[in-house]
């Protein structure tokens, strides 16, 4: 476990040193995050120009939810997405050999190799939107609550990570699966709104198949004082189950890999 963290830290350090060569990218990323957030905030403004409450959510409660969504997707873009892209290329081109011969667990290595440092701007931007929303709501937020919130966010990241890796193991059977991710990314975008607003069939997808209902909603509940212990425990349970399934799938899948020139 300690070795895993040391290794992840080393990869992070490397990525950081590498990216520091391209500092202008920070500003490009900043601009792009601002555009995306600006668009989202404009939609919120347009909606709440018509009403006070949408499906039981006030403007700043919904803004808090969207801030959390941006933070969560920030983690996905910093780490999950680039690692999966690399994994898929490796499997297609046979360079996955180099992962297998290293004296470390292949799933672990495949999950920490790539870091896109500048994407962390999204986490800052999301936090700013969330912070502004919370300030407007004027709720009292305790230290414990913040702690639980961080736990809920991280467990949400784990859920998405597990799901994405679970799907990517399919690449060991069928090579071209990028298009499946298009569908997944589309569904994940539904996390921008609270799950209970959607029609029944989409709610079922968001709870059981692509559990954005847990990944985004639970942190939002905790930080807006709507949460309870059951919700958080359920979310942690979902994360554990997804991680376990992904682990089992990974083990089966890697056995199928036959190498490039074999």
């Amino acid at each position: 476990m300690k070795r895993a963290f040391t290794l992840a830290w080393q990869y992070l350090r490397l990525a950081f040193m590498n990216e520091m060569q391209y500092r202008i990218n920070f500003f490009i990323q900043l601009f792009e995050s601002a555009l995306a957030l600006g668009t989202a905030l404009i939609v919120l403004a347009l909606v709440y120009a018509q009403t006070e409450i949408l499906n039981g959510w006030s403007r700043y409660e919904l803004q808090a939810l969207q801030g959390i969504y941006v933070i969560l997707m920030g983690f996905v873009q910093i780490s999950v997405q680039p690692n999966v892209e690399r994994l898929l290329t490796d499997i297609q081109q046979g360079t996955f050999d180099f992962v297998l011969v290293k004296p470390i667990d292949s799933q672990l290595l495949s999950s920490i190799r790539e870091v896109r440092i500048w994407q962390s701007v999204d986490i800052l931007a999301g936090s700013a939107v969330l912070g502004h929303a919370l300030w407007q709501l004027g709720n009292q937020i305790g230290l414990v609550q913040v702690g639980l919130f961080v736990v809920a966010i991280l467990s949400g990241v784990l859920i998405i990570y597990a799901l994405v890796f679970l799907l990517s193991t399919l690449a060991f059977w069928v090579i071209r699966i990028e298009s499946i991710f298009e569908v997944l990314m589309g569904i994940m975008a539904a996390g921008r709104l609270p799950t209970d607003i959607y029609p029944r069939w989409l709610q079922i997808i968001l709870v059981y198949l692509v559990p954005m209902a847990f990944a985004v909603t639970v942190p939002a509940q905790i930080i807006t004082n709507r949460g309870d212990a059951t919700a958080l425990l359920t979310q942690l349970g979902v994360a554990a189950v997804f991680m376990l399934i992904t682990r089992l799938m990974w083990r089966t899948a890697v056995k199928r890999y036959s190498g490039a020139s074999a």
Partner: protein, 267 residues
């Protein structure tokens, strides 16, 4: 002119064969794209429901119609982006295109027409499911469908030329991605992709009238859901053709100036 038609016929035929190799990819891609309009649709219909069934002149049925037509219009809203063109210039991929006797623009346009036609074929079953799920109201008489198809074709060609012309900026500098992203963000907001025009503040609606964006997205949608009078429709066609002419002139000027600067990187 006749020669050009023959060339387009042949090019479309070849690229159809290429595109059909990846059937499943296109289908998944289409499914992935559906969630964006579904999110907007759910949000606005919830709001309309809470306000007693109508919102800025839209009923829940016409909102559903708006966003289902959206999915088809979005299909025809895809062009060769400046990012695609940037990659070509940067990697020197433009070189072989320049050696051919036909302008590269024709290859691209015919490729995109093919993909849009195939995309529309895939869209038919998907649109059917959406109609069954969301119960929209459309203006379905033969004239309106004909006008819709015409406006869709015009919006595609108009936006294609316009965005292509925008890509010419790459001949001068390759650091323009921020600018392009800003352009596309404004387009998203003002074109009707994010929200129907009627839900924008009135100054933004007024502004949208004089910019190309709404004529390549919201306009065809508003025809098929029966929002526009005949007078407004003819006016819209006028704007579409006007912008097509502007875009074509812009493209010719920028291309002719830019191609002289092109240094054929990677040659």
């Amino acid at each position: 002119m006749r020669r050009l038609w023959l060339i387009y016929g042949k090019l479309i035929e070849t690229s159809t064969q290429v595109t059909f190799q990846y059937r499943l990819v296109h289908f998944f891609w289409l499914i992935g794209m559906l969630f964006e309009p579904i999110i907007y649709l759910v949000m606005w219909t919830t709001l309309a429901d809470e306000q007693g069934g109508t919102l800025a002149g839209y009923t829940t049925g016409s909102l559903a119609g708006y966003y289902i037509a959206w999915t088809l219009v979005r299909q025809w809203n895809i062009a060769l982006t400046p990012f695609g063109f940037e990659q070509r210039v940067r990697n020197g991929e433009l070189n072989p295109h320049l050696l051919r006797p036909i302008h590269p623009f024709h290859y691209d346009l015919s490729d995109f027409i093919t993909m849009r036609i195939i995309g529309t074929l895939y869209w038919i079953p998907v649109g059917g499911v959406l109609i069954w799920l969301f119960q929209p109201t459309f203006a379905v008489d033969a004239t309106m469908i004909g006008l819709f198809a015409l406006s869709l074709a015009l919006s595609f060609v108009m936006r294609f030329v316009l965005v292509y012309a925008l890509g010419m900026a790459v001949f001068w500098t390759t650091r323009v991605s921020a600018l392009f992203n800003l352009y596309f963000a404004i387009e998203t907001i003002l074109s009707g992709r994010l929200v129907p025009q009627a839900l924008l503040p009135s100054w933004a609606q007024e502004l949208g009238w004089w910019l190309p964006f709404r004529w390549s997205f919201g306009f065809p949608i508003e025809i098929i859901i029966g929002k526009l009078s005949y007078a407004e429709i003819w006016q819209g066609f006028g704007f579409q053709i006007g912008w097509l002419i502007v875009a074509t002139i812009l493209f010719r000027l920028l291309w002719n100036a830019g191609i002289k600067r092109y240094g054929a990187v990677g040659a």
